[in-house]
């Protein structure tokens, strides 16, 4: 079996550079939003954890595919700006 260094060199030779390691520190939480009809607003249906946007899209689609959504979107949780939280006064 090839070593991790061999694998990294091979990936680099093929044009890929390993940009992150798949450890929990690199994982990002994404909120998943969806709606069934154009008439209803997008609402949060859950969240996924993934190291990048591509994988988060694949995970969101696989995890929340139980309904016939007409729209689905994901947002990095860190990009959501909270105005106030439960228990706080607006």
């Amino acid at each position: 079996m090839a070593s991790a260094a061999d694998a990294a060199k091979y990936a680099a030779d093929l044009g890929y550079v390993t940009r992150y390691k798949r450890v929990s520190g690199d994982a990002v939480e994404y909120e998943v939003f969806a709606r069934k009809t154009r008439a209803e607003p997008l609402h949060q249906v859950g969240s996924v954890v993934a190291p990048d946007d591509d994988l988060a899209m694949a995970y969101a689609r696989a995890t929340y595919d139980e309904e016939r959504w007409c729209e689905m979107a994901i947002v990095r949780k860190e990009h959501v700006i909270e105005l106030w939280q439960p228990g706080e006064v607006s």
Partner: protein, 240 residues
């Protein structure tokens, strides 16, 4: 080989890809990856059923009775002969082979055969998420061996420069020939394929592979429903 032979090859490969994906539904590195493996498995098994359904409208169904008794009559690639033992094999199949099959489906959808244009289009939308999943995991770095094996088998599967796929391309039934399919795969994955030289003399045009062999006995039994029967109550077995 006819267009029906090619469609059967896509169907058999997608069926095996779906089964192998599903085997990882509880073994992937994260819960999300488990769910993705199960979802992609379901997608590909569904795609194979649609593809099998295209054989009759195409006018010729190349499936013979030997498919019930001879695992070597199935047209899947050697990559699927045995269950995958490491995650890197899953990733290489997901990134390289799944995308290669999608490139061929795209070539069918953009070709001149109406039944394929209409019935296969939806697969391309679903495959987008398989591609994102495979490419992302590939970028994280995997062992070289399964990656190189997957590339080799994808290029073998596209066929020789003057083979059936090239002829179907010239006839307009496929929008891409073998070279264009390889270029499409490289473009999609944003990487050059390894330097692969295929000795086409030993290539089996029906199974679109060089290596002999066939899927393992348990998987072949599962495809025919024999594994299920093992779990059936004895009274049900007698009635059957």
């Amino acid at each position: 080989m006819s267009l029906s032979d090619l469609v059967l090859s896509i169907a058999d490969n997608k069926q095996m890809l779906g089964l192998r994906y599903a085997e990882w539904a509880t073994r992937a590195p994260s819960l999300e990856a488990d769910i993705a493996a199960a979802a992609m498995g379901l997608d590909d098994l569904g795609h194979s059923r649609v593809l099998y359904g295209c054989l009759e409208p195409l006018g010729a169904d190349p499936r013979g009775p030997d498919r019930e008794s001879d695992p070597a009559s199935l047209r899947a690639l050697p990559y699927f002969d045995k269950p995958w033992s490491e995650w890197a094999e899953f990733v290489a199949a997901n990134a390289i082979l799944d995308t290669a099959f999608t490139a061929m489906i795209e070539s069918c959808v953009n070709g001149s055969v109406e039944v394929l244009q209409h019935r296969l289009r939806k697969m391309l939308m679903e495959e987008r998420y398989h591609f994102l999943h495979g490419r992302s995991w590939l970028k994280s770095g995997i062992n070289a061996e399964p990656l190189e094996r997957a590339w080799h088998e994808a290029i073998e599967w596209f066929g020789p420069p003057d083979g059936d796929v090239a002829v179907l391309h010239h006839e307009g039934k496929l929008s891409l020939g073998p070279q264009e399919l390889r270029a499409r795969l490289e473009e999609q994955l944003e990487m050059k394929s390894p330097d692969i030289r295929v000795d086409w003399k030993g290539w089996d045009p029906v199974r679109r592979r060089i290596k002999p062999g066939a899927i393992d006995e348990r998987t072949f039994g599962m495809l025919r429903g024999l594994e299920e029967k093992k779990f059936a109550p004895s009274s049900a077995t007698k009635e059957a």
